[in-house]
């Protein structure tokens, strides 16, 4: 029996976000991409404007469903040099709140810290995510993930070569 958006609990949402985090940490990136709906999107807004409109501002990531799938596939290629050999990451997800519910959709906010270790470098990416999650017969799916970094500059990390 399908749950409706009204029935989903925070624990269920957390289980889903923890699954997403685990897929990313285990580099099961195609499975990560499969968590998105057909019209899904993945965004990293500008550091100084988490609510920016992608039409007027330069984002870091502005992926539609095709692009996020390609992002996942590309990172699995040995020639994605910034991530070869793969960095080791921990995606921590916390402070999960369901902030809005409609008939089949939830809006969820969470905080994250992602650590990335690669060769001599240990970098940290703190931020807040806003998700729009669709309630489907197969469980929750991501319609939109906006991962806003709480950094004033992307320094000294220098890049976001992983998926947040």
């Amino acid at each position: 029996m399908n749950a409706t958006a009204a029935e989903i609990t925070r624990s269920e949402v957390e289980d889903f976000l923890f699954l997403e985090a685990a897929l990313l940490d285990e580099w099961k990136l195609e499975a990560w991409a499969a968590l998105f709906t057909a019209d899904g999107e993945y965004l990293i807004p500008p550091l100084d404007d988490p609510d920016a409109d992608p039409l007027n501002s330069l984002f870091l990531v502005y992926d539609d469903r095709h692009r996020l799938n390609e992002r996942a596939r590309r990172l699995l290629n040995k020639a994605a040099h910034a991530e070869f050999p793969h960095s080791r990451t921990v995606h921590l997800v916390s402070n999960v709140r369901i902030v809005e519910r409609s008939a089949d959709e939830l809006q969820v906010r969470s905080s994250f810290i992602v650590t990335r270790a690669k060769g001599p470098l240990n970098d940290t990416y703190p931020g807040r995510s806003t998700y729009r999650l669709l309630v489907t017969s197969d469980g929750l799916r991501i319609r939109s993930k906006r991962a806003a970094l709480e950094l004033s500059q992307l320094r000294p990390q220098g890049k976001v070569s992983i998926i947040l």
Binding site: D48, A52, L55, D64, H66
Partner: protein
Amino acid sequence: MRLETPTRLLENMLIDDRQRGVFRVNRRAFIDDRLFALEGRAIFERCWLYAAHESELAASGAFVSRIVGGKPLLINRDRNGGLHAFFNTCPHRGATVCREDRGRARNFTCPYHGWVFSDEGKTIHRPIDTSYSPACMEDSTQHLTPVPRFDSFAGFLFVNFAQGPESLETYLAGAGEYLKNIQAQDRESMIVLGSPQTYSARANWKLLQENSADGYHASSTHSTYFDYIRNREGAVRDNFSRTGFGCVRNLGNGHAVSESLDGTPWGRPLARWIDSWGTEIRADVDAAYAEMVQRVGAERAKTICHGDRNLLIFPNLVINDIMGLVIRTYYPTSPSYFEVNAFALAPKHEGPRLRDLRHRNFLEFLGPAGFATPDDQEMLESCQRAYATQTWVQWNDLSRGMLTEDGPNPAKQDELQMRTFWRRWHELMRRAGETEAV
């Protein structure tokens, strides 16, 4: 400890043998602290440096504060429309006067003791100023200090930390034409979109200047990007990286451009359509192209719209006008670390569909989370780490195409653009070295 004069520091730095076609750079240039200090004086304090785009300061009272060439600057437009560039430091005891990246202000209040400065940099209020002598009150140094030189070319604002005879226009030499062609992309003005991407790399800054117009690295460093494009677009022009198309031009004063007409596999919002954009977009692209033809003529419109350009302006400005249009400037804080500010530029009157496409196009390749830039950074950092072997492995080779570099079309995949940079770098470093040695 043996003291080294700057001139000695530069010995054995460059091999530039045009006869044999051999060009080498000593890897010391990337790791030596004394050379790094000399670069500050010889290059960053003598050259014109890109500071801002006029569109960031379009409104009355608009300001930006940012680090340019390692120095904190406050750049603003006063209420009468005048543009100013000041050192962002209080004449009283030095506090940073403006601590916001951008905004609008009629005056600026120093947070430390509350001095207030007008939008023309004049000190207009000092709390309890009865305790100051007339000499202090009248001292012309007790205002915000303007940078020695500040000028604009085609909407691009530059500063120079030294007085000198060379105007910005003369300095830009052949690069000026390219800046004008960027300005011409809109009937009124180009605009910076939002705030810059502010990132960094753990590498020497000169490696980024080399990398930013390096046609030779594309097919290996960015093979995954081309795979992605190939999946989407079908066959990528298969001579993309091998036999080459387009050429490199030495623009004088250390500037260079790598350019081509068509040939690259991506689309350009202004204005070169590709299949995967679909027919709806095609009408927008065609209309943008027609507007350009009508305004600047068929020949120039073709160059601007169908061409791709990686423009290198000495010492630290890159304008990539490719699938996106990026102004990228950078400054080192040590021999092995630099900071980058990258701005997206667009025609002001571009419609929403093309604008959206422009953003998507930009980010598929460019920026610290694009499909290409992180791999560039990785390569630069891997070079830098390996220069720890400099004592045993001294030289970088930049000889590609050297015997034909004076011919009509030096290839993009060759290394004339890097040699142009290094020759200028070497000349300025030696010139400063000789002065200091006296």
